[in-house]
C-alpha cells in the first residue's frame, strides 16, 4: 500500500517535470526558431560581402551620425542607395539595431545606410517627429557624398524603415523626395503611423479625449495644438508636416508596406486612409494587412514572407543592380 502511494507520487512528480521542461522548450522554440524563409534576409557578414564605416557625422547633434555599408564590388559605375531608419517610438532605438537588414541590403549590391536622429527624451524635449524628419532630410546629401568619397557613385535611392523609422522614411519619400540629391524611386517599411486624424487614434483613447489628443499631437508635431483646434479640425494643418499620407500626391513613389490589424502602438485605421491615398494617387504599391498580428507583425508569417518578397521584387524593378 505504501509502495503504491510512493509510486503514484513519483509518477505525478515526473509528469510535472516533463510538463515544465516541455513548457520551457516551447517558449525557447517560439523565441529563437525563426521561419526557414527568414534566413534569405540575413547574411553572415564579412569582408567578402562589404565594409562598414560607422558613425559618420552629418550634423552637430550627438545623434547626427550614420553608418555606411559598402558592397565588396566597387567597380560599377553607379549604385543604388537604400536608407533604413530604425524603430523605437521616436524616443529610443539605434541604427545598429538594423545591422542585419543593412548587411542583407549590402549583400544584394546596394550601398546601405542606417541613420540616427535626435530622440525625444528629457534632455531633448524639443525633439519631435518634425525635427527628426528634418534631420533625415539634412543627412541624405551627406550619405550620398560619403558614398561618393568612398568610390561609390549613387544614382538612385530607396528609403525604408520600421515603425517610427517607417514614418520618417515615408515623410522623406513623399514630402521631401523631390529635393533629394538623387531620385527617390521606392519606399518600403512596416507599421509606421502615416496620418494623424483624431478619430483613428482610438488605441490611446484620443478619439474620446480632445485634451489628451491635443497634447499627444503637439508633442509629435512640435506645434502647439489646443483642444479647441482639435474640435474645430484646425489641428490638421498643424500635423500635416508629419502626416506622410497627406504628401503622397507631392511625390507618388512606389511603395510596399505592411500593417498589423490589431496594432496597439499605431492605429490600423490610419493605414486604411493611407491605402486610399496610395490608390487615389495611382501609386504602384503593395499594401499587406496581417489579420492576426499587432505592431510586431508577429502572427502571420505567410503574409510577412509575401511582404518581404514584394520588397525584393520592387527593389529589383526600380533599383536593379547592374
Amino acid at each position: 500500500m505504501k509502495k503504491e502511494r510512493k509510486d503514484r507520487i513519483m509518477t505525478i512528480r515526473f509528469g510535472i517535470l516533463i510538463f515544465v521542461f516541455s513548457f520551457l522548450l516551447g517558449i525557447a522554440s517560439k523565441l529563437f526558431i525563426k521561419p526557414a524563409w527568414s534566413k534569405n534576409y540575413s547574411v553572415k557578414w564579412d569582408d567578402s560581402i562589404g565594409t562598414m564605416i560607422s558613425d559618420i557625422a552629418y550634423g552637430a547633434g550627438e545623434k547626427n551620425t550614420f553608418d555606411l555599408y559598402l558592397p565588396q564590388n566597387n567597380t560599377r559605375e553607379n549604385y543604388g542607395l537604400v536608407v533604413y531608419l530604425h524603430a523605437g517610438g521616436f524616443a529610443s532605438g539605434d541604427k545598429a539595431d538594423d545591422a542585419e537588414t543593412l548587411e542583407w541590403l549590402c549583400s544584394k549590391g546596394y550601398v546601405a545606410a542606417g541613420i540616427n536622429y535626435t530622440l525625444f527624451s528629457e534632455e531633448h524635449s524639443d525633439a519631435n517627429v518634425y525635427t527628426q524628419s528634418l534631420e533625415i532630410k539634412e543627412a541624405i546629401p551627406f550619405v550620398v557624398e560619403a558614398a561618393k568619397q568612398a568610390g561609390y557613385n549613387i544614382d538612385k535611392m530607396a528609403v525604408a524603415g520600421g515603425s517610427a523609422g517607417h514614418t520618417l522614411a515615408m515623410i522623406y519619400a513623399y514630402r521631401d523626395g523631390k529635393e533629394a540629391p538623387v531620385p527617390v524611386v521606392f519606399t518600403y517599411g512596416g507599421v509606421g503611423p502615416s496620418s494623424f486624424y483624431q478619430e483613428d487614434w482610438g488605441i490611446f483613447g484620443l478619439n474620446q479625449d480632445d485634451e489628451a489628443c491635443a497634447v499627444m499631437f503637439s508633442v509629435m508635431s512640435g506645434n502647439k495644438i489646443s483642444p479647441e483646434e482639435i474640435r474645430s479640425g484646425e489641428y490638421l494643418k498643424k500635423v500635416k508636416p508629419i502626416a506622410a499620407s497627406e504628401w503622397i500626391s507631392n511625390n507618388p513613389v512606389p511603395t510596399v508596406v505592411a500593417y498589423g490589424k490589431h496594432d496597439k502602438m499605431q492605429p490600423f485605421a490610419a493605414s486604411i486612409k493611407f491605402e486610399t491615398a496610395l490608390k487615389e494617387n495611382s501609386v504602384d504599391y503593395k499594401y499587406y494587412v496581417l489579420p492576426h498580428s499587432g505592431h510586431g507583425l508577429q502572427n502571420d508569417n505567410k503574409i510577412s514572407r509575401q511582404w518581404m518578397e514584394s520588397i525584393e521584387e520592387y527593389l529589383e524593378k526600380y533599383m536593379p543592380v547592374k
Binding site: 509528469g15 516551447g26 508577429q298
Partner: protein, 44 residues
Amino acid sequence: MKVKDKRLVVTGIIAAAGFIFGRLAVRGILNLLLGGTMFGGNIL
C-alpha cells in the same frame, strides 16, 4: 495496453501540452504588448 505503454502515452501527451502552452504563452505575452490574436495565422 500494458501499464508501461499507458505511462508512455500519458508522458507524451503531457510533453506535447507543455510545449504547446509554452508557445501560446509567448504569443499571449507578445499580443498583450503589441496586439494580436491568440489563434489564426501561424500554427501556434
